[in-house]
Structures are given as C-alpha cells and as structure tokens.
C-alpha cells in the first residue's frame, strides 16, 4: 500500500483553519474580505449620513442645470447657458487636446534629446545632461507657472504693435504675433472647392501607405531599395499643392491683423494652452529622453558591430537593427510617461486653462456645492482616459515586443 492512499486520519477541527496550510489561505482571504467589506460599509455609511445631514443626497441632476459661466478655450460650441454636463465635456476635450499635443511634442523632443545625450559630441551630450537634470529635478507645477510667467511678463501687449513707432513687431513676414494675451497665427480659410484639395490630400496619404507596402514587396523580391523617403515626401506634397493650384487656391490663409487694441482674423492660441503645452512637453521630454537612452544602451554593442560587419550604413543600423530592439525596452516606460503627462495636465488649473479639472472639478464644484459627485466623476473620467491610453499603447507594445515561440 502506498503512502498516497492513506486518508488523513485526523478529523477537521477549528485550529486547522489557522495552522493547516491547506485551509489557512482561505481563512486569511475570508478575514481580509470581511475587513474590507466592513471598512467600505463604514465609509459609505458615514458618507450617506453626512450627506443626508447636509441635505444633499447623491444626485447627478446638477449636470443638466445651466452652468452660467464662460469658458474661453473651447473646441465645441458652448455658451454660459449650456449645462454643467456640456461644460464638463468642453473641459474634457481641452484635457484631451493638451494631452495629445503634449504627448506628440514630448515624444519628438524626448527621442532627439535621448539620442543626442548618447552622442560622442562632448558639448552636446553635456548640454543634454544639463537639460535633463534641470527639468527632471524641478516640480512640473513650477515649470507650468514659469512658462506662463514668461508669456505674461516678457511678451509685449497688443498695443505695443500699434502706431508708427511700435515697440514690437510681428515675426515671419508679419504673420505671427507673440503677445502677452497669446500667440496669433494665420488661420486656414476653406472656400468653395477646398473639399477637393482635402480629399486629394487624404488620398495621397493612402497613396503613401500603398507605396510603402509596394516598395517593401519590391525590395523583398528584387533587393533594390528605392529612395523611399523622398518619394513619400513627394507624394505628401505634390498632389495636394497641384490640386490647390488647379482649383485656384481655394484654401487660403487669414493673417492676424491689429484692429483697435487687439488682433483679429488669425487663430488665437491662448497663453494658458501654450504655456501648459510647452511646460508639460519639456518636462516629460526629459523623462522620455532617459527612457530612450536606457533603451538604446540596453542593446548590446555586438548588435551594432554585427550590423556593421554586414555592411550596413550607420543610419540603417539604427533604423533596422538598434531601434526595433530598443523600442521593446522603450515602450513600457513611454506608456507611463504618456499617462503621467495626461494626469499632470490636470495642473492646468494653476494657469487658468479650462480643462476637466478646471470646469467639473473647479467652477462647477464650487457653484453647485456637489463635491462628492464632481470629484467622483472627475476621478472616473481620468481613470477611463488612463485605461484607454494604456490599452492602446499595450496593443502597440504587443505588436513590437519579442515574438517568442
């Protein structure tokens, strides 16, 4: 008779819940669950009691009441007569706008700075180190208010542009004005027929993608490499410009002009948006640069040497050998930097940029006195944004990660 056939002789007793490893795991979990439920029930009960005592039971009705405040920066139609819910939506779009712009610029700067920090050029690598250390070691909120101060304090007021002996002047052939109220840039004006130009442009984007596929196939079949970059650049610009000329320039630029005490006509980029955007990008770029540097350094030198031994040029070594491998190391920290940037965009409140924290968590909260609902909604929205970003980036990460069998 083997040992395994023997039934445990000892019958169950209560002490085994604690001293027998077969049951202990269950005991611990049940105790933890009960404690957690008790704690949660205590908190919810307190909150219910307190809210009832104040006479404001949990309700989201305030979202449909008129907001009564203006939002200066908006991507969709909004007036002060619209509801708090719509104000929150305007704020949400503003958050997404600055987060998107910030992620793009931060990635662009971060990659360049990260690569340059590894450069053999003594001066450049030192400069990049100084940049990274100074941006990483100072709070982002300070950078945001600092950027805002630069705009407000050191740019001229619009009236400085007036008169015969104006103290300030527009730059880039009188098309861009930097003022302390914001930056005025030319605006695109779409006349009749501009639809066709836009369609041609979109078609050329598809064309670039198709060309890329065709060129890769051709290279795999014949081994010849076309000057891909220049051809793609051509497809990007030539058809759209040709269409624009053929249609008689339906898309034109409206330049900002000084009318009275302010600029009109162009596109007005508000200080708060630009300051927030630049500060967040420059700050996050320092972190991304470190991630990029770590990613490149994680690829062993043998890879570069092997690629060189195969006769690849240095830019193709970077493009075909180093970067695809470094990306695997870079992407995960990059995801968390994007998340950080998005969450840090909530500091917009410090410069008066009306993002979701400024609308729902700021003015709406103060006006309606619905702290509980507003803050809970605010947290849920940020949670949803974060989860969305990390899901998308994780899908991308899976597509570049090492395929193991």
């Amino acid at each position: 008779m083997s040992m395994a056939d023997q039934k445990p002789t000892q019958s169950f007793n209560l002490g085994m819940l604690i001293y027998d490893t077969r049951y202990r795991a269950m005991t611990i979990q049940v105790v933890a669950l009960i404690l957690f439920m008790l704690g949660a029930a205590w908190l919810v009960n307190n909150a219910a009691q307190n809210l009832a005592a104040l006479g404001k039971p949990l309700s989201f009705d305030f979202l449909s009441q008129p907001a009564g405040y203006d939002i200066n920066q908006k991507l969709i139609e909004y007036t002060s007569q619209d509801s708090h819910g719509r104000a929150a939506l305007v704020g949400l779009l503003n958050t997404l706008l600055v987060a998107f712009l910030g992620c793009v610029l931060a990635t662009f700067l971060g990659v360049i700075i990260g690569v340059l920090r590894l450069s053999k050029n003594w001066l450049i690598s030192r400069l990049m180190t100084v940049y990274i250390e100074s941006f990483r070691n100072v709070p982002v909120l300070l950078w945001i208010v600092f950027a805002m101060a630069i705009f407000i304090e050191s740019f001229p007021a619009p009236r400085a542009f007036r008169g015969d002996n104006a103290t300030a002047s527009m730059v880039l052939n009188d098309s861009v004005a930097f003022t302390n109220r914001g930056v005025y840039i030319p605006k695109l004006v779409f006349d009749n027929g501009s639809m066709i130009v836009v369609l041609v442009f979109l078609a050329s984007l598809v064309g670039i993608w198709l060309f890329g596929r065709w060129s890769r196939k051709r290279q795999e079949a014949t081994g010849e490499i076309l000057p891909n970059f220049w051809i793609k650049l051509g497809i990007f610009f030539v058809p759209a410009i040709a269409a624009q000329l053929v249609m008689g320039s339906p898309i034109s630029l409206a330049y900002p002009e000084l009318k009275g005490f302010n600029f009109t006509g162009g596109l007005h980029l508000r200080n708060s948006l630009i300051a927030l955007w630049l500060a967040l990008s420059l700050y996050t770029a320092a972190f991304i640069a470190e991630a990029v540097r770590a990613g490149i350094m994680a690829i062993s030198k043998g890879q570069t040497e092997a690629a060189a031994a195969l006769g690849l040029r240095s830019n193709r070594i970077m493009q075909l050998v180093i970067l695809p491998q470094a990306l695997r190391v870079i992407i995960p920290p990059l995801i968390s930097q994007y998340l950080n940037l998005t969450k840090n965009s909530s500091l917009a409140i410090a410069v008066g940029y009306m993002d979701i924290t400024g609308t729902l968590g700021g003015i709406t909260l103060n006006q309606t006195g619905r702290e509980m609902e507003s803050v809970m909604l605010l947290m849920l929205i940020y949670l949803a944004i974060s989860l969305a970003i990390s899901t998308v980036m994780n899908i991308y990460n899976n597509s570049v990660s090492l395929k193991e069998r």
């Binding site: 709070p139 605010l378 940020y382």
Partner: protein, 430 residues
C-alpha cells in the same frame, strides 16, 4: 664582401606627434568636430549657449542683494533683484511660523532642531556603518518631531509611544502562555483600546500634574520649504511600508488579496494626484463619522501617502518580478515561512533591484508636494504669490521662481546622488 644590407644601428630620436594628434586639438577633433554633422551640432550648441548666457548673465550679475522693495532695487541695479530672496528667505523656508514679530516668542528654532534631528534619525537608515542603536532614536523621532513642530503638551506623544510599549509587553507576556496567534491579536487590540479610550484622559491628567509642553502652533502657520519637507518626509516614510505590502499583495496567490491590491493600485495610478488632494480638502470629512474634523496637513499627508504607495508597489513589484524563481524555491527548500522568506531572502534582493525606481518615486513625491498650493496650503510656490501680493514686491517673478526651483533641485539632486551611491554600494556583480 661589403655588406649591402641596411641595418639601423642607432635609434632615431622620437618625433613629436603631429599637431592635430595631441592635446586640446586632438580632443576637440575627436569630441567636437569628428564629422560634418558633429561640427554643425557643436556650432549650434555654442550659439545656443552664447545666446542664453547673453540674455541671462548680465541680468543675473548686474543685480542687487540689498533693497527694501522692488523700486529700490530698480534704482540700484537694472538686473535681477535678489534682495527679495535676502529679505523673504525666512518666510520661504519657515512659512508663517511664529517669528517673534506678532507678540509670540520666536519659535523657528523648533523647525531647525526638528530638521537637524531628522537628519540624525535618518542617518542610521541611510548609512549602515553607523551604530545600530541609533535606530531606536529613529523609531521615536516621528512622535518627537511631531511634538516639536506642532507643540502642545508632551504627554500626547508620550502616551502614543506608550501604546507601542504596551503592545510589546502584551505580546511578550502572552506569547509563552496563550500561543503566538492569541498574543499577536491581543497585542494589536490592546494598544487600540489604549489609544482610543485611555491615552487621551491619561495624557490630560498628566498634563495637569506636570504641564510640560511647547506653544501649540496651528497648521495654518506652516508653510514654505518646511511644509514641503514635512509632507515629503512623512509621505516617504509611510508610503514605503504600504508599498511593500501592496507589492506582496499583488504578487500573492491568494485571489482576494491579489484582486484588492490590483484594484487599489490601478485606481490610484489612474487618477491625478490633484483629484486626491481635492478629496483631502473637501471630501475626506464626508467619509468619517459626523463631527470629526482633523488637520489639513494630516489629511494631505494621508492622501499623498496613499498616492505614492501605489507607485511604490509597482516599482517593488518590478524588483520582485526580476528575481529569479530559484530564489523563491531556495527559500521554500530551507523551510522558511512566507514572512521569513520575504524578510531574509526575497525583499533584500528585490529592493536592491528596485532602488532606482524607489528613489525615483521618492523624488516624484517630494516634487508633488508643490501641488498642495492648489488646495491652499502655503508651500514655497504659493508663497511666491503671497510675496508678490505685497506691494513692496509687486511685479517680481523670475527671482522667486528661480530660487524655489533651486531649493527643490538641491533636495532632489542629492536624493538621486544617494541612490547612485546605494547602487554602487550594494553592487555584488563584477
């Protein structure tokens, strides 16, 4: 026959290397101008540095340190007005802590003493060459530091410490008699009873008998760098153990524990700190029994701690995941139980791997203390606004921001240097 072969019989004198291959020229050729691309970068870099210095150096140097107001500054020097730092330095560091001007005696020595003692308390944690006995001081420092900063009767902190002593005594007495488990449960419950029901009256009674205490300072007086350091240090000290527990919870194979940990970590990491600070400033009282009202700094510290514990947990989880499975199996093979295995084998190695991330989280936490200015606490950043609101200094911007940036930079820079030192010290590879 004449030997025609040419054999050199004497050495030629050594020649100096070509000019381009020595000294500074060689260095410049290799490091600055090794190709056309590098040359362009170097020149661009030099031009950028030149313009930045051209804009800032005259401003920074052509400045004055002695003036009573911005106007006076402008009369003395066209550049920076460092006089504001000179005059407001105490405020930027101590906030509105009583400084002897408004009737109360100067109390700022308490912050200085607390900070110096903080260094003493932290030293044995940071440097393991110091005598181990010093850890005892680190253990009582939180109570002592609290008493120094907020003041009030000394019996409050002392009775709080007494709770821990009671727990220890209960455990030592009960463990041989009633078994380990009962002793642990009793040693958790007795101090809670002590703190909730007995500590207050006893402290009050002792206070009547022997009124030893410092002037009580309300939280509204705290500000400046001192406030940032208080929140930062408290957050760091509290978030680390919670982070370790959360990381273990997430790696655990107990389903419910794991689910709770993951939910907590992902929730906290998904929301910005500012929303949690909103919770601290407007919501936390809703979740507590009616009538409870506790200190704003304490509420902020709780929220900052909960926030950074989630990040800490992820960093430590990285360290746990990087540890080879063999280490866990070896610990099991030695017959160690879960806590012993973690304490003696797993954690020392996992934490070592996670040092850069841990210190990074600490640095992030310290920088994030500036966010408290948004909910109305007077950290250095909020003080810059307060100073600007004074009509003497109305219009001063750069000097204050630069100084605040420098204060944070110094702290965070030394933290990252310490992390590098620790990595080198714990390096066991070759």
């Amino acid at each position: 026959m004449k030997n025609l072969s040419y054999v050199r019989t004497e050495m030629l004198p050594e020649q100096a290397p070509p000019v381009g291959e020595t000294g500074i020229i060689k260095w410049m050729r290799e490091n600055l101008f090794s190709g056309w691309m590098n040359s362009i970068l170097t020149i661009l870099g030099l031009v950028a540095v030149y313009f930045i210095l051209l804009e800032t150096l005259p401003w920074a140097l052509d400045s004055t340190w002695n003036a009573g107001s911005l106007n006076e500054c402008r009369e003395n020097a066209p550049g920076a007005c460092w006089a504001v730092i000179n005059e407001r330095f105490p405020q930027l560091v101590f906030g509105f802590y009583p400084n002897g001007t408004d009737g109360d005696p100067d109390q700022r020595w308490r912050i200085i003493v607390a900070f110096v003692l903080l260094l003493v308390a932290v030293a044995p944690v940071l440097f393991d060459k110091l005598p181990r006995k010093m850890i005892l001081f680190s253990a009582i420092y939180p109570f002592f530091g609290y008493w120094l900063l907020w003041g009030g009767t000394i019996w409050g902190p002392l009775t709080a410490i007494a709770g821990f002593a009671i727990a220890y005594i209960v455990y030592r007495v009960l463990a041989p008699m009633a078994g380990n488990l009962v002793a642990v449960i009793a040693s958790i419950l007795t101090p809670i009873v002590w703190w909730l029901f007995l500590a207050g009256p006893i402290a009050g009674a002792l206070g009547d008998v022997a009124p030893i205490g410092l002037m009580a300072i309300p939280s509204s007086k705290f500000g400046g760098l001192a406030l940032s350091v208080i929140i930062g240090v408290a957050g760091i000290a509290l978030s680390f153990p919670i982070g370790v527990l959360l990381a273990l919870g997430r790696q655990s194979n107990l389903f419910i524990i794991k689910t709770l940990s993951v939910a907590y970590i992902e929730f906290i990491r998904g929301v910005p700190l500012i929303t949690l600070l909103f919770v601290a400033s407007v919501l936390l009282n809703y979740f507590l029994p009616p009538g409870t009202n506790f200190d704003i700094i304490l509420r902020v510290v709780i929220m900052v701690t909960l926030f950074s514990a989630a990040y800490m947990a992820e960093v430590i989880r990285g360290g746990l995941a990087a540890l080879p499975r063999g280490q866990y199996e070896a610990a099991d093979a030695l017959g160690l139980d879960y806590w012993k295995a973690n304490r003696l084998i797993i954690m020392p190695q996992a934490l070592k791997i996670a040092i850069p991330g841990i210190v990074g989280t600490f640095i992030g936490l310290f920088k994030d203390t500036t966010l408290v200015s948004i909910i109305g606490l007077m950290d250095p950043l909020a003080l810059t606004n307060a100073i600007r609101a004074d009509q003497d200094w109305n219009g001063i911007v750069w000097e204050l921001y630069l100084f605040v940036a420098l204060m944070f930079w110094v702290f965070t820079f030394f933290m990252s240097r310490y992390s590098m030192y620790l990595e080198r010290k714990l390096q066991t590879g070759h």
